[in-house]
């Protein structure tokens, strides 16, 4: 492999990692605050993709901008879903069966709603930008992927800043780190969880919108990405955003470089193999490895 090949693979892995991180971070926030594994994440990603498509086709809004516009819509939808359904789940410190069933059922409902509204044909968002590339020396980079990557980084940065520097973000982190202490400190659990859930769904919608301009989609869209999100979250540890970033990068690197050795169609198998490997070798994810290193230092 030449240096140019290597560099372009590195670049495409990095660009892939950005979007992977955005799609996983919503699940992480929801898991961290509520200990709910959001199996319906794929469904909300699908909605985000279709929403971006509708905005693009009906109002000629740029698809990337449209993806950002899906965020507030999906945020409100997420808040409503929390208020109507999720709020009623038993509060727990670990995932419960009712929460898994609810989210799985919700996914099925969303999927079928998608079939009802948009039918089962493949759709895609196609703009003049879709096929354009920028050349950096000998390396060609897809403009669209670059834009999506930058958009993803901006969103992750905003989320991280929000979690660290606002009082609401602080109460979200407080709930993630120690639910009980957060409660006696005065954190209003239901309200905070509702907003965190909205945020998670907002990020699902945003990721869906961004992915929708990269890939074609149908109402079953998101299934493969949901599995990837699991791998990333397991890799990164279940409740930290920097962990998600690292997990996304590792998965993207493995997927991208595996193309050299195995056909592209086996990419998902590689994700699964990685998941199994991590669960066997490093059940606590990379975060546990870092914590161990810190303890030894």
């Amino acid at each position: 492999m030449t240096l140019v090949d290597f560099t372009s693979l590195m670049v495409s892995a990095l660009l892939l990692a950005g979007i992977y991180a955005v799609m996983s971070v919503g699940m992480t926030v929801i898991y961290g605050v509520m200990k709910i594994v959001n199996l319906a994440h794929a469904g909300f990603m699908m909605l985000g993709a279709y929403l971006a498509l509708e905005l693009f086709e009906r109002f000629q809004i740029d698809p990337i901008l449209a993806a950002f516009l899906t965020f507030p819509v999906m945020f409100l939808l997420g808040g409503a879903v929390h208020w109507v359904l999720v709020r009623r789940l038993p509060h727990a410190d670990e995932p419960t069966l009712p929460s898994l069933l609810l989210m799985f059922g919700l996914w099925l409902v969303l999927q079928n709603l998608g079939y009802l509204i948009w039918g089962n044909t493949d759709r895609s968002i196609f703009t003049p930008r879709t096929l354009s590339v920028v050349n950096v020396g000998p390396i060609a980079i897809s403009t669209l992927r670059l834009v999506v990557f930058i958009a993803a980084l901006v969103c992750l940065g905003l989320l991280e800043a929000w979690l660290h520097y606002t009082w609401f973000g602080r109460s979200v982190r407080a709930l993630i780190q120690n639910r009980y202490a957060a409660l006696i400190t005065g954190v209003h659990e239901d309200r905070t969880a509702g907003i965190a859930f909205g945020l998670g769904i907002g990020f699902a919608g945003l990721a869906g919108g961004l992915l929708g301009s990269l890939y074609s989609f149908d109402p079953d869209f998101g299934r493969a990405f949901l599995i990837r999100a699991f791998v990333i979250i397991v890799l990164g540890g279940l409740d930290s955003i920097s962990g998600v970033a690292i997990g996304a990068l590792v998965l993207a690197l493995v997927e991208t470089f595996s193309i050299i050795f195995v056909p592209a169609g086996y990419q998902l198998a590689i994700s699964f193999a990685l998941l199994a490997l991590v669960l066997i070798v490093l059940p606590g994810g990379i975060a546990s490895l870092l914590a161990k290193a810190r303890r030894l230092a």
């Binding site: 009082w167 109460s171 982190r173 407080a174 009980y180 409660l183 400190t185 005065g186």
Partner: protein, 249 residues
């Protein structure tokens, strides 16, 4: 007129676990500006009573009021808005945050919400200073010693500007020197106008710091009075030391 609206009034509170009464018909009033303690042997119902006052457990019957307002079973975030904050027996810091951030979380939920980042920060630093750990503000909470974590627990509660501080075994696990510093801190908190309700296992600690003490035994109120009265109460002595063996030679 006496106690028109005591800051805390517990009225015939009972709590059953299954058929067993962990707390039975306990009534008392806490007046403003006191350190009010309750003590009792293991299993006397201290923690159950405390949990009911702090809103973590619902009484089977009875009422808990603060300034005439019914707070029975009210969730923590409401109590804090009413000026009732608590610390917990087992310290529970937000481990991944700095000491200052830990307190900043609490600042926003106080009686009067603090607006503005600078003001919130200032209030948090003030609370840390009060608890005597302002020099540790930028350390991660996870590395603090138990003594300092307990102070952090107090700073976090004080940051909500409470009128009543409920404090559960705050001296548990502390060394002798740390305990006396902690008791001095409780006195300072009282002197600054916050009423303190204090539950402790350690008889010496509680009798040295409290203005008024209630003794529980088998879930019932055994005695109430000043530390002197309590220490000389035959029923209390009996509960702690047992009855004197009657000599049959």
């Amino acid at each position: 007129m006496e106690d028109a609206d005591p800051i805390l009034e517990v009225d015939k509170v009972t709590r059953y676990f299954g058929g067993l009464a962990a707390v039975k018909d306990v009534s008392f009033k806490v007046r403003q500006g006191q350190i009010f303690g309750f003590m009792g042997p293991n299993g006397a119902g201290k923690t159950t009573l405390f949990s009911m006052i702090a809103g973590a457990l619902k009484p089977s019957s009875g009422k808990i009021r603060s300034r005439g307002r019914d707070i029975t079973g009210a969730p923590a975030f409401k109590l804090i808005k009413l000026g009732i904050a608590r610390t917990h027996q087992i310290v529970r810091p937000f481990r991944e945050m700095t000491v200052l951030e830990n307190v900043q979380v609490a600042v926003h939920f106080g009686k009067q919400a603090v607006t503005g980042r600078a003001a919130a920060r200032e209030r948090a630093i003030e609370a840390l200073g009060y608890a005597g750990i302002d020099q540790l503000a930028n350390y991660p909470a996870a590395i603090l010693s138990v003594g300092h974590q307990k102070r952090l627990e107090i700073a976090r509660a004080l940051a909500t500007d409470p009128d009543l501080l409920l404090s559960d075994e705050i001296c548990g696990g502390l060394t002798h020197a740390e305990t006396s510093e902690m008791l001095a801190l409780l006195r300072r908190i009282r002197d600054s106008g916050t009423t303190v309700m204090y539950v402790e296992h350690d008889v010496k600690a509680i009798t040295s710091v409290c203005d008024r003490i209630m003794v529980l035994n088998y879930g019932r109120k055994l005695a109430e009075g000043t530390p002197d009265e309590i220490q000389n109460d035959p029923a209390v002595i009996e509960a702690y030391l047992g009855t004197r063996a009657r000599g049959r030679s």
